[in-house]
C-alpha cells in the first residue's frame, strides 16, 4: 500500500504539472476505487470493469483493498489516507454500510466527489449510487427454479452470513418466491456462511434427514457449487441455483450442473461507477441512481458471461444511463 500512496503523490504531482504546462484540464484524473476484499470474484470483476472504464476515458484507477478481508478499521484508515492525497474522485463500496459513514463524511468534508456502489451507504452524500438489487435478483432466480420444477417439491435454502444486508435481502427474495408457490415446501433453511465447505457439509447433513429434496436455493455461487458436490457424491439429484454469476457458476451452468445464477454484475458496476466518478470530476452531468435490472444467467443466455473479464466491454455512457430501473 505504501507504494501505492507514493504513486498517488507522483501521479497527482505530474497531474498538476501537466495541467499547468498544457493548460488542458480534466484528462488523466486519478480515481480511487475502494473494494471490500481481494478474494471475492465479484470485486475482481469490479476492479477490471473500473480499470477498463478509466482507461477508455483517459483516467487512472488506484485500488484500495483491506489486507484483512472486509476490515472496517482498515478501510476507514485507507479513506483517511486517500482524503489527504486528494484524488479526482472516489468510487466506494463501504465494508459496512453503517460503520463507514464517518469515512464518507470525511470525503465529503474534503469536497472529493464520491460514487457509492454495491452496498448502499446509510449516510454521507454521494454523487450517485450504482448497484444491483439483491432482493429482486434472488426473487427472479428463485422464481426461475420454481417454474422449472413445476412450482412444487421440497426446497432447501442455504443461507449466507447472518446479520449481513446482502444475506437478509437474498433470503427475503427466496422466501417471497416460495410464498408465490404454495405447493413448494421449504423443508430446511440453514446457514452456510457464504462458504463452500460449510454449504457442502450442511447439504450432506440435510440429505440425512430429507430423503426427497427437489430444489436448493443457495445465497451465493460458492455455496451452490458446494451443494452440487454434496449431491453428486451422494448420487442424489436436485436442481440448484446460486447468486453472483461467477465464472465458476457459468461453467457449472454450461455443464448442466447448476440451473441458474442471479447476476449481480460486478463488471458492469465497476464500469458504470467509475464512469460516473470521472464524469463528476469533469463536471459533466451524471445519473443519481442506477440500480441494475435483475438478470438470471441460464443455459440459454450464458454466452456473454462466459467471456474472460478482460475481454468484456464496458457499456457506453448512453447505454449505461439506461441500464437502471430507476
Amino acid at each position: 500500500m505504501k507504494h501505492h500512496h507514493k504513486s498517488i503523490c507522483v501521479t497527482l504531482t505530474l497531474l498538476v504539472l501537466g495541467g499547468i504546462a498544457t493548460g488542458a484540464r480534466a484528462d488523466g484524473e486519478t480515481i480511487a476505487v475502494f473494494t471490500k476484499n481481494q478474494t471475492n470474484p465479484f470485486f475482481q470483476a469490479v476492479r477490471v470493469g473500473a480499470d477498463l472504464a478509466a482507461k477508455s476515458l483517459g483516467a487512472k484507477t488506484l485500488h484500495y483493498i483491506p489486507t484483512k478481508s472486509d476490515s472496517i478499521s482498515e478501510q476507514l484508515s485507507q479513506i483517511e489516507d486517500v482524503v489527504v492525497k486528494k484524488p479526482s474522485a472516489i468510487v466506494l463500496d463501504p465494508v459496512d454500510y453503517k460503520a463507514m459513514v464517518p469515512g464518507v463524511e470525511k470525503i465529503n468534508d474534503a469536497n472529493i466527489p464520491v460514487v457509492n456502489f454495491a452496498d448502499h451507504s446509510a449516510g454521507g452524500s454521494f454523487v450517485s449510487f450504482v448497484g444491483g438489487d439483491d432482493y429482486r435478483i434472488s426473487l427472479e432466480t428463485a422464481r426461475f427454479l420454481l417454474k422449472t420444477i413445476g412450482g412444487k417439491g421440497n426446497i432447501v435454502i442455504i443461507e449466507g452470513v447472518k446479520g449481513t444486508l446482502t444475506n437478509a435481502e437474498r433470503i427475503r427474495g427466496f422466501k417471497d418466491a416460495l410464498a408465490e408457490n404454495p405447493d413448494a415446501k421449504l423443508v430446511a433453511s440453514q446457514p452456510g456462511n457464504f462458504q463452500r465447505l460449510q454449504a457442502l457439509q450442511v447439504m450432506e447433513n440435510l440429505m440425512q434427514s430429507n430423503f426427497q429434496i427437489d430444489g436448493v436455493l443457495a445465497a451465493n455461487d460458492a455455496m451452490a457449487t458446494g451443494v452440487i458436490e454434496a449431491l453428486d457424491a451422494a448420487n442424489r439429484k436436485a436442481v440448484v441455483i446460486g447468486v453472483n454469476g461467477t465464472k465458476e457458476a457459468v461453467d457449472a451452468i454450461k455443464a448442466g450442473k447448476l440451473l441458474a445464477s442471479g447476476d449481480y454484475d460486478g463488471f458492469i458496476q465497476g464500469c458504470v461507477a467509475t464512469m460516473i466518478a470521472i464524469r463528476a470530476a469533469r463536471n459533466q452531468p451524471v445519473v443519481k441512481e442506477i440500480v441494475l435490472k435483475p438478470a438470471v444467467i441460464t443455459k440459454d443466455n450464458y454466452q456473454p458471461f462466459d467471456l474472460p473479464l478482460e475481454s468484456r466491454i464496458c457499456p457506453t455512457w448512453d447505454d449505461a444511463a439506461k441500464l437502471g430501473t430507476k
Binding site: 476484499n37 481481494q38 478474494t39 471475492n40 470474484p41 470485486f43 475482481q44 470483476a45 476492479r47 489486507t67 478481508s69 443461507e159 447472518k162 430446511a188 433453511s189 440453514q190 446457514p191 456462511n193 462458504q195 463452500r196 465447505l197 460449510q198 457442502l200 457439509q201 450442511v202 450432506e204 447433513n205 440435510l206 440425512q208 434427514s209 460458492a222 457449487t225 458446494g226 458436490e229 453428486d232 457424491a233 461467477t246 465464472k247 465458476e248 461453467d251
Partner: protein
C-alpha cells in the same frame, strides 16, 4: 545426564494415565451428545449419518492432528488455515497444468510441509515466539495466495483425483480411511516412539529437555513441518472433496482446528494431551453442526448454541475429572 532425563521424561509418564482418563471422559461427552441427538432426531443414528459425520470430521482432524504436536511443545501454529488455502491453490494449478494427480498431491504436501518448515526455522533459528512467527506467516501466505489467485476460483478436477475426497472404498468414504490411518500413525508416534516422548518432554520442560540431551531444535523443526504437511494433506482432501478452491478457504478453518485440539484436552502450556483427544474434539465440533442441521436450529441461534455446548462440554469434563479424583 541420566538424572536430567528422568526429570524430563518422568512427568510425562505420570501424565499419560491422566491423558487416558481425560480422553475417556471426552468420549463420554460424545456418547451423551449422540444419545441426545438419537432421541431428538430419528435420522441421526444411521450408518449413513455416522459415516457422514466421520467424513466431515476428517478434514478438521487432519489440520488439528498436526497442530496437536505443535501445541504439545507449548507452541501454536496459527498459519494452518492460510497454509491449506495456498497449498490447495498450488496443488490445483499443478493438476490443471500437468493433469497428474500424483504431482498435484505431492505439490500440495510439499507446499504445506515447506511452509511448516519455515515456521519451524523462525521458531528455532530466529527464536521468534511461535504465536508471532505463525501469525506473521498467516499474513504472508494470505498475501501470496490473494496475489496468485487474483480473485479467481480454481475448479474442475479429474475423477481419479476426486476419489481422494468424495470417493468410496468398500462402502466407506475415502477420507475416513485416511482419518483412521493418520489417527493410528499420530497416536503411535506420540505415545510409542522416542521422538514422540521427546515432544512431550520439550513441552513439559524445555530447559530440562535440552539439558537431558534431547535435540530440541530438531524436534521443533520436525513438529512444525508435520503440522504444515498435515495442512497440505487437508488441502488435497479439500480440493478433491469440493472440486474447487479460492484464496479465502483457510479463514474459517484455523480457529475450529485450534478448538478441536483444546477441547480434546491438549494443554496450551504443552506436555499434556493426545492425538486421539484431538480426534474426539473434532468429532464433538462436527456433531454439533450435524445435530443443529438435523434439528433445523434457526440460523440466528446456531453460533449461540455452538458456544454454549462447547463451554459446557469442557466445564462438565473438568468437573467430572475433579470428582473422579
Amino acid at each position: 545426564m541420566s538424572d536430567a532425563t528422568k526429570i524430563a521424561i518422568a512427568p510425562r509418564r505420570s501424565l499419560l494415565s491422566q491423558d487416558v482418563t481425560q480422553v475417556l471422559y471426552r468420549l463420554l461427552t460424545v456418547l451423551v451428545i449422540c444419545v441426545a441427538l438419537s432421541l431428538l432426531s430419528q435420522s441421526f443414528f444411521s450408518l449413513g449419518n455416522i459415516l457422514n459425520v466421520l467424513r466431515q470430521a476428517s478434514l478438521m482432524f487432519f489440520i488439528a492432528s498436526g497442530l496437536t504436536l505443535v501445541v504439545l511443545t507449548a507452541g501454536l501454529d496459527l498459519s494452518v488455515g492460510a497454509n491449506v488455502a495456498l497449498s490447495a491453490c498450488i496443488a490445483g494449478t499443478v493438476i490443471h497444468h500437468t493433469g497428474s494427480t500424483a504431482l498435484g498431491v505431492l505439490s500440495g504436501l510439499a507446499t504445506g510441509a515447506g511452509v511448516g518448515l519455515l515456521n519451524g526455522l523462525m521458531v528455532t533459528m530466529l527464536r521468534i515466539p511461535s504465536f508471532i512467527a505463525t501469525y506473521g506467516m498467516l499474513w504472508v501466505l494470505n498475501g501470496l495466495t490473494y496475489w496468485y489467485m487474483a480473485g479467481e476460483t480454481i475448479h474442475g478436477f479429474p475423477p481419479g483425483f476426486r476419489q481422494i475426497g468424495s470417493g468410496y472404498l468398500l462402502g466407506l468414504p475415502t477420507p475416513v480411511y485416511l482419518l483412521v490411518i493418520f489417527l493410528a500413525i499420530g497416536t503411535f508416534f506420540a505415545q510409542r516412539t522416542t521422538w514422540g516422548q521427546q515432544i512431550y518432554a520439550i513441552g513439559a520442560n524445555p530447559v530440562a529437555a535440552r539439558l537431558s540431551g534431547i535435540p530440541v531444535n530438531r524436534r521443533l523443526l520436525m513438529v512444525y513441518a508435520v503440522s504444515g504437511a498435515m495442512a497440505g494433506l487437508a488441502s488435497i482432501v479439500f480440493l478433491a472433496r469440493l472440486n474447487s478452491a479460492e484464496a479465502d478457504i483457510g479463514e474459517s478453518l484455523t480457529l475450529p482446528a485450534i478448538a478441536a485440539v483444546l477441547i480434546g484436552g491438549t494443554s496450551l502450556f504443552g506436555g499434556v494431551g493426545t492425538v486421539f483427544g484431538t480426534f474426539v474434539g473434532a468429532l464433538i465440533l462436527t456433531l454439533v453442526l450435524n445435530g443443529m442441521n438435523l434439528l433445523q436450529v434457526n440460523a440466528s441461534w446456531q453460533p449461540f448454541v455452538t458456544g454454549i455446548i462447547l463451554i459446557l462440554t469442557v466445564w462438565l469434563d473438568m468437573k467430572s475429572r475433579q470428582r473422579a479424583r
